[in-house]
Structure formats: C-alpha cells, structure tokens
C-alpha cells in the first residue's frame, strides 16, 4: 500500500500543492527579472530604460524574497504540523481562506508594481521591497502587503489550533519536533510583523491616501527593519526544519539530537527580532549605543546557527556510517550524492556556511561601513535567501511534489544537474558581487558606471568581474528553467505506486532527553517580548522625539510618475548647486 502524504491527507495535500505552485510562479517571474537586472547592470544586454530598472528590481525583490519564500514555507509548515501530529487541519475552509487572502494580497502588490511599466494600469510602486519613505507607492501596494501578512497570521493560527486540538487528545505528550519548529517560528513571526503592520496601517497607508500629509522616514524605516531581520529567519527556519528532519533520513540515519534542535528554535524565537537595527548602522538619528546592542544580539545569533551546523553534519555522518561509510572523512563518499534532494540541501547548507562568514562582516558595526549598500550585500543575501533557502526549497520540491501529487518525479538526474548548476551559477554571481562591493560598486543602481571615474578591483578587472556576474546569472536562469521543467513534467505525469512513504527522520536522542521547559511556549514568548522592549523602546522613543510621529512635512515621491530622466538630472543639479 502506498502511504504518501496525499494518501494520508488528501485535502491538505491540495492546499499545499496550491501554495507550492504559487511559489513556483513567483520564482519563475522573479528569477527571469533577475537575469534582466544582471545583464543590464553589467552592460551585456540593455533592453529596458534605466527608470524601469527600479520597477523590475521591486518585482524581483518582492516576488522572490516575499512571495516565493513565504508561499513555499506555509506549505512546508502545513506538511510538518499535520505529518508530525498525525492529524488533519481543523477546518479546511479556514485553510483555503488564508491561502486565498495571501493570493489576493500578492495580486494587489503585483499589479501595482506592474503599473510602473504598463501605462494602462494607473498605479505604480517603484519602491523596492523595503518601501522606504519618502518613496511612495499606490495605496494598493500597502493594502496588498497587509492582506498577505494577515493571511500568514491566519496560517499560523491554523497550525496553532490544530496543535491545540491534538494537545487536548494527548495532554502528556511532548510537542513533536516539526510542530515545535513551526510554532516557535510562527510566534516570532507574529512578534515582528506587528511592527511593520502598525507602520503600514497607522503611518504609511494614511499618508499614501492623503489622510495625513507627512511621515517620519526614520520611524517607518526602523519599523521596517524591526520586521526585516526577523523575516530572514522566517525564510530560514523552514529550511532549517528540512535540514533537521529530512537530511538525516536521506543520509540513511537519524537526527543526532532533538533537544539541541529545540534549543536552536527557542534561541531564534528569542533573538530574531531585537536585532533589526543592525541594518541601520549607517542611519543617522539612531545613537551608537542602540546599534551596539543590536550588534551584540546579532553576534549571539551565531550560536544557534553553529549548533545547527554541528547537529546536521553529525546526523549526516551518523547516516553515512550506517550506510557503510568509514574513515575520518571517507564517510562523505557514502552519502547519497545522486539524490537531488540530498545534494541540493547539502550544497545549500555549504553555501550558507560561506554566507555566515560574509554575514559576520555585515554584522560588525565598524566593518559594515566598508560594505554598506554595496553589491557585497547583494552577494551575501543571494547566498542566504537566494541559495540556502531557495536551493533547499527547490531540492525539497523534488521530494514534496511527488508526496502531494502521488506522481513520480519526472527526471531525477536532471534534478541533480539542476541543483549543481545553481551551485555553480551562484558561485560565480555571488562571489563576483562580494568582490565588487569591496571596491565600492553600489547596489540598486541600473548603470553603475560614471564619468571620469573607474572602479579599481584589488585583483583582476571590472570587465571580468562583470563577466562572472553575467555568466553566473545565466547559469542560474538555466537552472531555474530546468527546475520548472521538471516540476511541470512531473505534474503532467500519471499517478505512480512508487512514491516513498511520508516519513521524517527519527532521533538518536529524542524529546524525552529535552528539559520540559523547552516546550513552554508562553515563557519563551514572554522573554522574547521583553527583549524586544529592551532593544526597541528607547530608540523608537528618541526617533519620535526628534522627528515627530508623522515627521517634518515629508511629501511622497513617486519614481515612475515624476522622475523622467530630465527630472532626475534637474534635481541632481539642484543638489549639486
């Protein structure tokens, strides 16, 4: 008897499938735009006007960093909760409700961004995914974002109520690990999105509607980053969950330690949010001391990531030895490298290690000044969200799509080639971006070449660094196409009896070894809230004190409407004069 996810939870499988396809669609569009950007900036191919670049970049950032990642992860968490509790969601209408809400939000945001290049749509939202005021989008952009986020809140509520229903049937049992991971992640997601939701609903939306006539840019920016760092852990936690519960199993072994995994997720709940100011080291108007606190919290966040590296690699080694691997490093040979699910996730983890190093540089207050707002940062987060998360999700899809459709993967070897090409492409693109940043190439600039000025790489030439970016971006796009091809062909295929059972890794040291206090979600949420209050009350108070809640008469600035090239030149002249 086949016992895939779709056999156990046919109705839930449909929602998950819908969420995955929504995410793949965003990935397809966003990824293609990435290629356009890379070729435009490196002057290999320029098929758009410079101002349109910002419309494209907004779409790329929003579709990939928000839509692709979050649609996929709500699918993953829904799988994790139902599988580990061995119980369906409480009410499927509710589930479809939050999914629909996320879709409507995405469509509103998408259409308002599209308005930047399509004259027929009387909107624009060329504000990049950070929507810093005074850049001002059409109100639909804000409304869409809020709907999307509220959709994710309801998704979290869905997982919580399913867990509560399970708990009343199983009062004395420990929370199963995948559910524990989904719930702790949801908790800090609530904590952090509250800030950005308030910022949009109380400050930005009224301003874009003309109800209030000004905002305080530093305040809305700070509230954005209050959410903006935690969101990176919202992307990352599902990837971590897959590394913890899938990689050990794929390697043929068990998870090394369930208690350690719980500690890691608790630490992320505590520390994800009171760190956001590390994105604002260069913002005037925030005192150094607050920045220092954010830096300290950030450095503590290295701990759970190092714990994860240890636990996951130890589990893989255990698996490899079970499969007959021997030797000091020889066990590596015994891992299932032909399996795209395993190899994709392992390479994603490897790249994440590299990202950890560049991340430490970003996190250091003093050395951040060297790389701030350069292409170094873009190189960094294409390793984190663009690979550690994206490649893990793509690799996971090779396992999940058969699970939720009951259809066999169309071509496994192609899957292996796909994850390897992503790795190689990202090697070129991200490496070259990091190096560009070191000699000052700015990010978010359509045409980074200036009169009477030439960038001077410490080694090699600007030309060859650009060539690496273009080559890498092309390989990434090829990889993306191979991935989508495999997904489409798999979905077109017929039902198969060869789908593996829906299981996840067992543990060497199980929940019985974990102190019960780890499962006390109320306690951890309370401490997390206190930490946030410590980290944010004083900075927010001094920002409001200095600039006022609504700022000193800041008018909205709409790039696509006002900023023809002549206008930009004019304002640059004014500034210089």
């Amino acid at each position: 008897m086949r016992n895939a996810y779709v056999d156990q939870f046919p109705a839930e499988a449909k929602v998950i499938k819908a969420a995955f396809w929504s995410s793949f669609l965003a990935l397809a569009i966003g990824g293609s735009l990435g290629l356009l950007q890379a070729l435009h900036r490196t002057d290999v191919l320029r098929i758009m006007e410079a101002p349109d670049y910002y419309t494209v970049l907004t779409a790329h950032g929003v579709l990939l960093a928000i839509t692709f990642t979050i649609f996929f992860l709500v699918g993953i968490f829904t799988w994790g909760v139902t599988t580990s509790l061995d119980r369906g969601l409480v009410d499927l209408r509710f589930t479809w409700g939050w999914y629909a809400m996320m879709v409507v939000g995405t469509v509103l945001v998408g259409v308002s961004i599209l308005g930047g290049v399509v004259d027929a749509i009387p909107m624009n939202a060329d504000v990049l995914f950070t929507f810093y005021a005074p850049l001002q989008p059409h109100p639909a952009f804000y409304v869409g974002l809020v709907l999307f986020v509220v959709g994710t809140w309801l998704a979290g509520a869905d997982w919580f109520r399913t867990w509560l229903a399970w708990r009343s049937d199983n009062p004395d049992e420990r929370i199963p690990l995948p559910t524990f991971m989904a719930l702790t992640t949801t908790l800090f997601w609530y904590l952090c999105t509250l800030g950005v939701a308030l910022s949009i609903l109380l400050l930005l939306l009224p301003w874009s509607l003309g109800i209030v006539d000004s905002v305080n840019p530093l305040l809305t920016r700070t509230l954005f980053w209050y959410f903006g760092h935690a969101v990176v852990y919202f992307w990352l936690m599902p990837a971590y969950m897959l590394w913890y519960v899938m990689l050990p199993k794929l390697s043929g072994g068990k998870l090394f330690s369930d208690p350690l995994a719980r500690v890691v997720f608790v630490l992320f709940l505590l520390l994800s949010t009171p760190t956001g100011i590390h994105h604002q080291y260069l913002d005037p108007g925030i005192a150094e001391g607050y920045k220092f606190i954010a830096m300290t919290n950030t450095m503590f966040l290295l701990l759970p990531s190092l714990l994860t590296a240890f636990t996951v690699v130890a589990s893989m080694e255990h698996g490899a030895r079970q499969r007959g691997g021997t030797g000091y490093l020889g066990w590596l040979k015994a891992l299932p490298w032909r399996d795209p699910v395993f190899t994709g996730m392992a390479l994603a983890g490897l790249m994440f290690a590299a990202a950890g190093f560049s991340g430490m540089i970003n996190a250091g207050m003093n050395i951040n000044y060297l790389v701030h707002n350069t292409w170094w940062i873009v190189g960094h987060f294409h390793l984190t969200v663009g690979t550690a998360v994206a490649l893990t999700f793509m690799a996971a899809a090779y396992w999940f799509i058969p699970q939720v459709t009951g259809k066999e993967l169309w071509n496994r070897s192609l899957g292996l080639v796909q994850v390897l090409v992503w790795f190689v492409g990202m090697t070129f693109m991200s490496n070259a971006m990091h190096r560009s940043g070191l000699f000052g190439v700015p990010r978010r600039t359509a045409e980074p070449q200036y009169e009477n000025f030439a960038f001077e790489p410490a080694a090699g030439s600007m030309g060859e660094i650009n060539a690496q970016v273009a080559l890498g971006a092309t390989l990434l796009t090829v990889s993306l196409a191979l991935f989508l091809l495999n997904m489409v062909m798999t979905s077109l295929g017929g039902s198969s009896d060869e789908i593996p059972d829906n299981t996840y890794a067992e543990t060497l040291s199980g929940p019985e070894d974990a102190p019960v206090v780890l499962d006390n979600l109320k306690l951890w949420t309370a401490i997390a809230t206190v930490l946030v209050i410590f980290a944010y009350t004083l900075p927010l108070a001094s920002i409001i004190d200095a600039g006022g809640l609504f700022g000193p008469g800041i008018d909205g600035f709409q790039l696509a409407i006002e900023a023809g090239p002549a206008f930009v030149l004019e304002s640059v002249r004014e500034v210089i004069a």
Partner: protein
C-alpha cells in the same frame, strides 16, 4: 569507479569556487595568471580527479546502497 558518478559531479562543482578564487589568492602574492591559464589549470585538475575517480581499484562504488527514499 572509486566514488559514485553523483559524488564525482559534486566534487567537480565544489571545485569551481576554489579554482576561481585561487587566481585571486595568487594575485596577492604578485602572481598574475590570466583567465585562460586559470581555465587550463581548472581543466587539468578536473581531468586528474576524473582519472582518479574512474581508476578501477574497487569497482563497486556504483553498487552502494542508494537509500534515497
């Protein structure tokens, strides 16, 4: 085969960043090699690894458990 074909592909992929940045690293010691030289070097290393991998001392790497359920 000493290692499986999958593992061989992975080794080659992971080698690429090292070859790319080897050139950067050398330049710190004043040794400048061209892109072409770097490519040739990469090709030689890859070839060496492929030869090592397919050399037949124990022909059973492909027969290993595939346990990728």
């Amino acid at each position: 085969m000493r290692i499986s074909k999958g593992a061989l592909l992975v080794v080659i992929a992971v080698l690429i960043p090292f070859i790319v940045e080897f050139r950067t690293a050398l330049s710190w010691f004043g040794i400048e090699i061209s892109v072409l030289e770097s490519l040739v070097l990469g090709a030689v290393v890859v070839l060496a690894i492929v030869i090592w991998a397919v050399w037949p001392p124990n022909g059973d790497a492909e027969a290993e458990p595939t346990g990728s359920s």
